[in-house]
Amino acid sequence: AAPSRRYVLCEVVSEDPRCRQCIEDRAVGLAVRDAIGKVHGDYGLACCSISFTVKYLNAYTGTVLLRCRKDSYRLLCSALPFVRQLESRNLRYPCFLNTLHVGGTIRTCQKFLIQYNRRQLLMLLQNCTNEEERQCIQKSLLSCSLTEEQSQSGDEEDDDGTE
């Protein structure tokens, strides 16, 4: 039987907008592995790193999709609150990871992410200050959908610069 996997969808939340620069595979992977090592020790680190990768990243929205084995996803999820900073190219920014969804396949996480982003866009729409931004967001909202091609569906929103 193929090894069962779990996909954990999280969001990087930070006060400093420059933290977005640090959102890359190596930095996030290292931070998560570090947290697992601190909380669960060598055993936890060994269990979780069997099939562990960072599958998808979106630096504009701060979305991260992690993959791990089904047997060790609890070790991973319980260690995620302990991530306190992201470090890359000798720059360190404090942040935390907010778990959004745990799914068995990439497709379920994708569906959840589309719904979540749509809700976020709606909230942004409410806080819009000028008409141009409003129209841009409305256009993006109307065009969110789950298409058959796997590659594009993560980046529905274009306007997160308005935060």
């Binding site: 939340v13 930070s14 006060e15 601190k38 909380v39 609890r74 999820c77 319980s78 995620l80 609150p81 302990f82 306190r84 404090p94 942040c95 935390f96 990871l97 907010n98 778990t99 959004l100 809700r119 909230m123 409410q126």
Partner: protein, 250 residues
């Protein structure tokens, strides 16, 4: 106050602002709580619904001596203004008093040092019956490794006695980045020895129950209920002979 706007963006629907009173310092007076409408002119909306976030005020009393509890029993007007009252007992006797007699909503469990006393089953069961919840904090565990060990060992020893009931997990965050989302806090509950269902309840239903407990404490003084007693025919027959007996005796 950008701190509170942060909370809201992570998915919580109610937040309590805590004011701590420590009786070891002299001259502690309970002041009126700051009204949330003064701090936030407009409250953001909960994600996914159209209601506004609730901001509650909360008072925590750190008691290390039985005389400190008198403040709770007195009818001081200022205490009644807080939505939630929590007590942080420092000795075994005070823990017993807090669980059995004091009129509070939450009993805080120490997570920053080794417990000076062991939990015993009778006061914990009484507290559960009275609707009092035990509170665990998670921010010290995130900040420091030694605190993490104390938090987990104290939490697990509490779980062994109370079997995971009546637990509330909250943060004592002083900075926005020390907060965690509700899903993550429920996962932390798993580390503390709760089952999945109990951990989720510790972040959702138990907190709502605490809020309700606070509201009823503020408003209700007592309950009177009337029950219609069904009158049975046999009872009437039995009473008649007694009357006859009384007459004959008189």
């Amino acid at each position: 106050y950008s701190y509170c706007v942060f909370t809201f963006s992570v998915g919580y629907s109610a937040v309590a602002l805590n004011h701590v009173i420590d009786f070891k310092e002299k001259k502690q007076e309970i002041v009126k709580p700051v009204s949330p409408s003064e701090l936030f002119p407009s409250l953001p909306i909960v994600q996914g619904t159209s209601k506004r976030i609730k901001v509650l005020t909360r008072l925590t009393l750190v008691v290390s001596d039985p005389s400190h509890c008198n403040l709770l029993r007195s009818t001081s007007a200022n205490i009644r203004l807080y939505d939630i009252i929590a007590v942080f007992p420092k000795t075994e006797k005070l823990f017993h008093i807090a669980c059995t007699t004091l009129d509070v909503d939450l009993v805080c469990i120490n997570v920053t040092e080794k417990l000076p006393f062991y939990f015993r089953r009778p006061p914990v069961n009484m507290a559960i019956d009275r609707g009092i919840y035990f509170e665990l904090l998670y921010t010290p565990a995130i900040k420091d490794s030694t605190m993490r060990r104390y938090t987990i060992s104290n939490a697990i020893s509490l779980m062994q006695i109370c079997k995971g009931k009546n637990i509330v997990i909250s943060s004592a965050a002083e900075r926005p980045l020390e907060l965690r989302g509700p899903y993550d806090v429920a996962n932390l509950g798993l580390l503390f020895g709760l089952s999945e269902g109990e951990a989720k309840a510790a972040v959702s239903t138990n907190c709502r129950a605490t809020m309700l407990h606070g509201e009823t404490r503020k408003s209700a003084c007592g309950i009177v209920y009337t029950v219609k007693k069904p009158r049975k025919v046999e009872d009437e027959e039995r009473t008649l002979p007694a009357c006859k007996k009384a007459k004959t005796q008189a």
